[in-house]
Structures are given as structure tokens and as C-alpha cells.
């Protein structure tokens, strides 16, 4: 663990911390501050120029317009649905990879799960657009059963987002399951617990922080997404789309709108932090 501070080490610490903190403060926190500030500005409705007069009209509009509430709730439910779907898929897959598959299979399976992460966000979203389209492969596969594909819309958005973020959930869960000592499972069995009981009382509590850590990504990435919605969402509007469409027209309103996902995520981070999820990020 870290050594006790001496004058020399304090100097070194300052030298180590100064560049990254300076960068983050100037480039990132500074930008966020300007964004927050501009949420209190106005836009000239004729020229679309930002007028730097302090007012809270944007927040007032945000809180009183029903459309914004509907969109915020829809975005929240989609992000929650994506997170649940990913957790339900990741748990059995990661369990199989870490605990059932032999040592020889573990690595190749991990690589198989990781490779698609590198294939590119747009490439994958676009592949789903083709698959879900009029004469796409999903429709063709379901037709013999007399079923139809989901088409473009909210269901498609949940499917594609869950698909895109799945590795972000599998990875931490896999790592947690792999670290779980065999002794603990044996002890549970010695004490008379069956497989289900062990799963419920030993395995699930052990992977909970990992699932929460993964959920930070699935949740946050879904909350802010607007491209997937454009690609497969049909007419569905999410927060990200509204923000993106407002940026050039009305930056102050876009800034006020983006406070919504920021508040949601900060609350979420604070909640999962208590569960120790941030340590396994």
C-alpha cells in the first residue's frame, strides 16, 4: 500500500497528479460547467443565436411540457429494459464460461465474447437494420412459424441496444465468477446446501457488485444513445434524439435537456456506489 508522505513524495505526487487533473478540469469539467451555464441562457428565435441573458425559462419549459416527461420516462424504461435483458443473458453465459466450461475452453469463449466489441458500433447497429428490414433475415426466419419480426420501433431499439452492450455486462460478471473461490462453493455443499441454495446464497451475492458495475455501462450508454434509435427506432424519440436535434437550433434548451440524463446517472452512480459496484468498474 502507499508509503507515508515525505516532502519528496509529496512533490512527486503533485508532479504526477497535476497534468491529468489539469487536463480533466480544463477540458472536461470546464466544458460541463459551460454547458450547465448555457442552460440558463436564451436563444433568439429569429437568428438561432445564443443570447447571454440569465433566465430559467428552459428548465421551466422542461418541467412543464408533458412531451418531455413522456420522452424522459420512455428513455428511462428502455435503459432499464436493456439492463435487465443484458443481466439475464450475461449471468448464464458468464457462469458457463467461468464455471462449467473446462480450462481449455475458457479463453476462446472469452475472446469470442470480446471480438464483436471491436467490430464497430455503427456496423452492428446497421447490420440489425438490414436484418429487421422488410425482407430481412429476421422476418424470413420467423415466417415459417407464422410470426412477424418486430420491425423498426421501440422493441427493435431494446433488442439492438441490449445486443450492443452485452459484452460490457458479461465481462465484469465473468471476472467476478472466475474469482469466486471453489472452497466457498464446497463449503456451501458441505453444509448441506443444494445447487439452487448455493446459487442463491453464495454465487448471486458474490456477483451482485459486478452486475451493478456492468449495469452502469448498459444503463448510461442506453440513456444517451441516439444513433441506434435513428437507425432502427422508426418514429421512436428518446432523450438523446431530442438533445441532438436541439443542439444547432437551440443550444440552451439542449443543455437544459441534457441535465436530465446527467441527474439520472449521478443518482444511479450514487446508488450503486453504496453497493460497492464502483470498485469493480
Amino acid at each position: 500500500m502507499p508509503a507515508a508522505p515525505t516532502p519528496g513524495s509529496r512533490l512527486r505526487l503533485t508532479a504526477l497528479l497535476a497534468p491529468p487533473l489539469l487536463w480533466l478540469t480544463l477540458a472536461y469539467l470546464g466544458s460541463l460547467a459551460i454547458l450547465l451555464l448555457s442552460a440558463f441562457w436564451a436563444t433568439d428565435s429569429f437568428t438561432s443565436d445564443v443570447v447571454r441573458t440569465w433566465n430559467t425559462d428552459n428548465f421551466h419549459e422542461l418541467l412543464t411540457t408533458p412531451v418531455y416527461r413522456t420522452i424522459a420516462l420512455r428513455t428511462l424504461s428502455i435503459a432499464a429494459a436493456v439492463t435487465v435483458v443484458d443481466a439475464l443473458l450475461a449471468l448464464p453465459m458468464a457462469f458457463f464460461m467461468a464455471r462449467v466450461a473446462g480450462g481449455r475452453w475458457r479463453r476462446p469463449l472469452l475472446v469470442a465474447v470480446l471480438t464483436p466489441l471491436w467490430a464497430g458500433y455503427l456496423v452492428k447497429a446497421y447490420a440489425w437494420r438490414v436484418m429487421l428490414g422488410e425482407d430481412g433475415v429476421v422476418g424470413a426466419a420467423l415466417a415459417p412459424f407464422g410470426l412477424h419480426g418486430p420491425g423498426y420501433g421501440t422493441t427493435a431499439v431494446v433488442i439492438v441496444l441490449a445486443y450492443l452492450w452485452l459484452p460490457y455486462m458479461i465481462l465484469p460478471v465473468y471476472a467476478a465468477l472466475e474469482r469466486l473461490p471453489e472452497r466457498m462453493l464446497e463449503a456451501s455443499a458441505d453444509l448441506g446446501a443444494g445447487a439452487w441454495r448455493t446459487l442463491r446464497s453464495v454465487v448471486l451475492p458474490a456477483v451482485r457488485p459486478a452486475v451493478l458495475a456492468g449495469s452502469v455501462f448498459t444503463f448510461s450508454l442506453s440513456l444517451g444513445d441516439y444513433l441506434t434509435v435513428q437507425i432502427v427506432g422508426g418514429k421512436t424519440q428518446l432523450l438523446g434524439n431530442v438533445i441532438a436535434s436541439q443542439v444547432t437550433l437551440d443550444l440552451p434548451m439542449a443543455a437544459a435537456l441534457s441535465a436530465v440524463p446527467v441527474v439520472l446517472i449521478v443518482c444511479y452512480l450514487a446508488a450503486v456506489r453504496r453497493a460497492g459496484a464502483l470498485d469493480s468498474l
Binding site: M1, P2, A4, P5, S9, L13, L17, P20, L21, W23, A27, Y28, S31, L32, I34, S38, L89, P92, M93, F96, R99, V100, A101, L110, V113, L114, P116, W118, A119, G120, Y121, L122, V123, A127, D135, V137, G139, A140, Y163, L166, L171, A175, L185, E186, S188, A189, A195, T198, V203, G214, S220, G224, Y226, G240, L251, S258, P261, L269, S280, L281
Partner: protein, 270 residues
């Protein structure tokens, strides 16, 4: 834990089905890149190498690739320096506000890309534009580097937790200066983590589109932006498909290298 045969089979089937779903879209992209039909109807109508030839001669795609490489390399270089310094400070020193520093580093990827994107956009418009620095490769690099830092920080941090500090202490006891200790003891122990972190940071930058959209000027086109712009043009679709197919094929290489180099798979966003 005794897992019944049935449970094993069920888990195996779920995993196999999951992986199949993961790979079907990617295989379809590969297949469509040689499909004669422009609209990618299913089943494919015939095979052709036409789109591949067209893509290899596409000046726009080549320029975009070059821009992406430049942005990715510059952002990775900055992230490597800043991320390593921060990891050292957080994992080798005890100071007030340590947890805040790690939280701050995670923030750029924990907040949605659109928020980071328009924040940077607003800041560049307000601060850089008046002093004559317009949107372009420079602003893209600043944006990318900001969220790449945490990737390097995570990788180096995971490695530093495994290297016993006593190694550096022993080196100092044997009379090595701090620089020598770094050069001969610490650096060799973290070299592969640096490489893996850099690779991941580069990949993240290479794939990033939301932050790029809001930080690039009209003339700066990275590969994802080029893909996105051309998605809307039906007659360009086959060429976009080939570029997508190439990206899928190329994606196997970095994963393979990263897997060989690093066993720190625990980190969140890799």
C-alpha cells in the same frame, strides 16, 4: 458446487445460442459485402467482388481512415501519458481526495456520449472559436483523449495492484535512483499493460462517433462519420458494407493481441 448434467447442458445451450446471436449480424455483413443485390434482401441473389473493388478505390473512405488513424494515435498518446501518471498517483500514494480523482476520471465515459459531446461543443464554441482555433482534428483529439484516459488508468491501475511495491523499495534499497527503478523495474513490469491499455484506448477512439460528431468541423471526417454519412445514401450502401466487413475482419487482430498481453480482463469498459 455440484452442477447437474441437465444444468450443464442448459447453460451450454444458452451460451451457444447467445454467441450465435452475437455472430449472425456480423456474418450477414460479410455475406452482404459480396451480395449482388444492392438492397441486401434475404436470401442473397448472387456473389460479386464488385463492391470490394469499388470500396478499395473509394477516396472518401481512404481519407476517413487516415483521419481516424491520426485522431486515434494522438488521443492514445495523450491518454497513455495522463492515464499512467494518474494511475501512479492513485495506486502508489495516499492523499486526500483519492476517490474523487478516480471518480473524476470515470466521469467522461460514465456520462452519456451526447452530454460529453455537446459540453465540448459548447466549450469550444465559447472559448476556442474566439481565439481562432476552429473545429477540426485538434478538437476531435482533445475530445477523444478525455475519455481514453480512464481506459489507460484502469489497465495500469490493475497492473500496479499486482506489482508489489516492495519491488520498487528493494530497488531503492539497492541504491537505484527513482528514474533507474522506473526504467529497470517498474516499466518492464507494466509494459504489456501499457500496450493493452493503449490498444483499447485506440479502439475506443476509432469507434467513437457521438463525441466526434460534435467536436469535428465540417471538413474533418473520421471513419465512423464517413460510414454514418453514407448510410443514408442508398447507392453507396454496398461500399459502406465492404468497409464494415473490413472492420469486422480487422477486429479479430487486436482482441487476439490484447488477450495474449494482458490477463487483466476485470476492468469495466475492458
Amino acid at each position: 458446487m455440484r452442477i447437474s448434467r441437465t444444468a450443464r447442458v442448459v447453460l451450454g445451450c444458452v451460451t451457444a445460442a447467445g454467441l450465435a446471436i452475437v455472430y449472425v449480424p456480423l456474418l450477414l455483413v460479410l455475406l452482404n459485402s459480396v451480395n449482388t443485390d444492392r438492397s441486401f434482401g434475404w436470401p442473397p441473389s448472387g456473389l460479386t467482388g464488385r463492391w470490394w473493388r469499388a470500396a478499395l478505390h473509394s477516396e472518401g473512405a481512404r481519407q476517413a481512415l487516415l483521419t481516424s488513424l491520426k485522431a486515434g494515435l494522438a488521443a492514445t498518446a495523450i491518454a497513455l501519458v495522463l492515464g499512467t501518471l494518474a494511475a501512479y498517483a492513485v495506486h502508489r500514494h495516499r492523499f486526500f481526495g483519492r476517490r474523487t480523482v478516480s471518480f473524476l476520471l470515470v466521469l467522461p465515459i460514465a456520462l452519456p456520449g451526447i452530454v460529453s459531446g455537446i459540453a465540448l461543443n459548447a466549450a469550444f464554441r465559447t472559448v476556442l472559436d474566439p481565439i481562432g482555433i476552429g473545429f477540426g482534428l485538434f478538437t476531435v483529439v482533445v475530445g477523444h483523449a478525455t475519455f481514453c484516459v480512464v481506459i489507460v488508468f484502469n489497465n495500469i491501475g490493475a497492473r500496479l495492484r499486482r506489482i508489489a511495491p516492495s519491488l520498487a523499495e528493494a530497488s531503492a534499497d539497492l541504491g537505484a535512483r527513482p528514474w533507474q527503478t522506473f526504467r529497470y523495474v517498474t516499466f518492464p513490469a507494466m509494459r504489456s499493460a501499457l500496450f493493452a491499455g493503449g490498444l483499447l484506448a485506440f479502439a475506443l477512439s476509432f469507434d467513437e462517433i457521438v463525441v466526434t460528431t460534435f467536436t469535428a468541423g465540417p471538413g474533418t471526417r473520421t471513419l465512423p462519420i464517413w460510414i454514418y454519412e453514407n448510410l443514408a445514401r442508398p447507392h453507396q450502401a454496398p461500399v459502406v458494407n465492404v468497409v464494415a466487413a473490413l472492420l469486422i475482419l480487422a477486429s479479430v487482430i487486436p482482441v487476439h493481441i490484447a488477450q495474449r498481453l494482458s490477463s487483466d480482463t476485470a476492468g469495466g469498459r475492458l
